[in-house]
Amino acid sequence: MSTGGWISMILSVGFVTVLFVYCVGRVLFGPQPDADE
């Protein structure tokens, strides 16, 4: 695999993985919505 291939793969896979982990973390451990309404 070329250097460009590594960069392309790491950036792509890294971006979606970090975004996914960040979002799930915010949903699970962030402020929860009010129970009223």
Binding site: M1, S8, V24, E37
Partner: protein, 534 residues
């Protein structure tokens, strides 16, 4: 007004339901093939641009419109547009939001049955038998070889699996949103990710399985998938942009009719921004992070580039991969869990296709859930029988998929973003989106949602029609050529396909029927709200 009868039990539940709707066969079979075909670098740039300006923002618009309609007591696409668009024809803007999931379900459930059938056949050792011809098995199992050929009910026929899959879908739908759809997605999505990680571990440790072909190793396989070709040239290729934008659009299920219905069960202060982003990111993780590292690299190490090039989604998934697994140590086990993974991805999607129909029959026609399910089972069963019987070359399936599952989604996506940004108005819609939001959307997305997303979507749609209907060769000026594709010549021309024509007429009939039902529903809603004039 119809009263809210159901709800998801938690925020994570609705997110997983939407993610389950989005994660499907395309994540593991279609995306890797496209990325490899167009060269990792340029394709991924176009892919992520499309994600950021098309997929995620239109997804937010759909979540917002769904929640807004739900707060007014409507959960079906026609009902939601009826209450949001104050015009007597407004409800018809939601027609495709009903048609698309219902018609797509008709053939999607058939493919779902393949996945379950392949999983059980892999477990039974069918694919590791000496001398098995995978192409013949696929043609026989799916009926792609001849019409009516798959209407049999043995282990190596799709019949029994179609019935099992139908029963499972309607069983979970009968259990309702929380105990049915949410239950399946809460278990299904984590299991799917774990299975994918196990298979990923296997693929990445394959090394060089055939020492006589040292080039066919894992690193070269990843290189085949991710090595950027000439990025500048690639980005000038309109076909690449069309492929990337189309993949994002279909993969995220934007404009499909499922997200709008799911979001309609949210409460006023429930977040849609983080939830929409989380569902999209879950889909992207499964697609790029898992799908992008499994199927094509696995096929490459056993077949090389020549064995993969030009393979379509079905061919890669149900023809090439059984062979690939058969060559792997513990191949039956990995084939079983791979097709189980595809089955889970498919059933979480197919469940999302039924809820919009159920919701419409309940709130538009006043049916009880059991009656709504019966009507929907009859309608979708008719379409599935059509696809099942007229299976030669998968013509009926392909016709439905193109005209409803592809063209229809573009149109509904355009309706969604136009209603959000221009009918409700970007300022009011923006405020509505941020009601109860767990995070703020960057301000520049106002501009994107108002101008860029609709324009980008329109350009992609026009290019799509030009290429896939009129057969444009993507050249301009004197070099431009148009040669109508089989989607047109199958319907009109010297050698039309009777199956394609019949399927197209069936789809038209469904559209007309649903149009009439929406008219009846509109009268019911007007009567319920005391309106005197439609």
């Amino acid at each position: 007004m119809p009263a809210i009868k159901e709800a998801f039990s938690s925020r994570l539940g609705v997110i997983l339901a939407v993610a389950g709707s989005a994660v499907g066969l395309g994540n593991f079979l279609r995306f890797p093939g496209l990325a490899a075909q167009y060269g990792g670098g340029a394709f991924m740039i176009a892919y992520f641009v499309s994600l950021l300006v098309l997929g995620i923002p239109i997804g937010w618009a759909e979540w917002t419109i769904g929640r807004k309609g739900g707060l007014a007591g409507f959960h079906s696409s026609p009902g939601i547009f009826h209450v949001i668009v104050h015009h007597r024809l407004g409800k018809y803007l939601g027609l495709l939001g009903f048609i698309i999931p219902v018609v797509v379900y008709m053939y999607y459930v058939y493919i779902e049955a393949w996945c379950l059938g392949y999983a059980l056949n892999a477990a039974a050792g069918t694919f590791s038998q000496p001398g098995v011809n995978y192409g013949d098995f696929f043609a026989s199992f799916t009926g792609a070889g001849a019409n009516g050929a798959s209407l049999h009910f043995g282990l190596q026929d799709v019949g029994i699996f179609v019935i099992i899959v139908y029963a499972l879908n309607f069983f979970f739908i009968y259990r309702g949103l929380s105990k049915g759809i949410e239950f399946v997605c809460k278990w299904g999505i984590p299991i799917l990710i774990v299975i994918a990680l196990v298979i990923l571990g296997r693929v990445l440790t394959l090394g060089t399985p055939d020492p006589t072909k040292p080039d066919q190793n894992v690193l070269n396989a990843l290189g085949y998938m991710w090595n950027p070709q000439d990025i500048a040239t690639g980005l000038k290729n309109p076909q690449l942009w069309l492929a990337a934008a189309g993949q994002i659009f279909f993969s995220l299920s934007v404009g499909f009719g499922a997200v709008i219905t799911y979001a309609s069960y949210l409460r006023k202060k429930d977040d849609v921004v983080l939830s929409g982003l989380t569902a999209a990111s879950a889909n992207e993780f499964c697609e790029v992070g898992l799908g992008g590292l499994i199927t094509v690299p696995a096929a490459f190490v056993f077949l090389g580039a020549a064995g993969i090039a030009g393979q379509g989604t079905f061919s890669l998934g149900f023809n090439v991969l059984p062979y690939v697994f058969s060559k792997m140590p513990l191949g039956d086990f990995f084939a079983t869990i791979f097709y189980l993974l595809l089955f889970i991805a498919a059933i979480t999607s197919s469940l999302s296709m039924l809820q919009p129909g159920i919701a419409f029959f309940e709130e538009g026609l006043g049916l009880k859930r059991k009656s709504a399910m019966g009507l929907l089972a009859g309608l979708t069963g008719l379409g599935t029988l059509l696809v099942w019987w007229f299976s030669k070359d998968l013509k009926a399936l392909d016709t439905m998929d193109f005209w409803i599952g592809t063209v229809g989604i573009f149109i509904q996506g355009m309706i969604l973003v136009m209603v959000y940004s221009w009918y409700i108005g970007i300022e009011a819609a923006w405020a509505e989106t941020h009601e109860g939001a767990a995070m703020r959307i960057p301000l520049f997305y106002k501009f994107i949602l108002k101008y860029i997303s609709p324009a980008f979507l329109l350009i992609v749609f026009v290019m799509f029609i030009a290429a896939n209907v009129f057969g444009w060769n993507f050249a301009l000026g004197a070099a431009a050529e148009f040669k109508p594709t089989s989607y047109v010549t199958d319907l009109v021309g010297p050698n039309p396909s009777g199956v394609a024509r019949g399927t197209f007429l069936f789809c038209l009939s469904v559209i007309i029927l649903v149009g009439c039902l929406i008219k009846i529903a509109g009268k019911n809603w007007a009567r319920a709200s005391g309106e005197t004039k439609l």
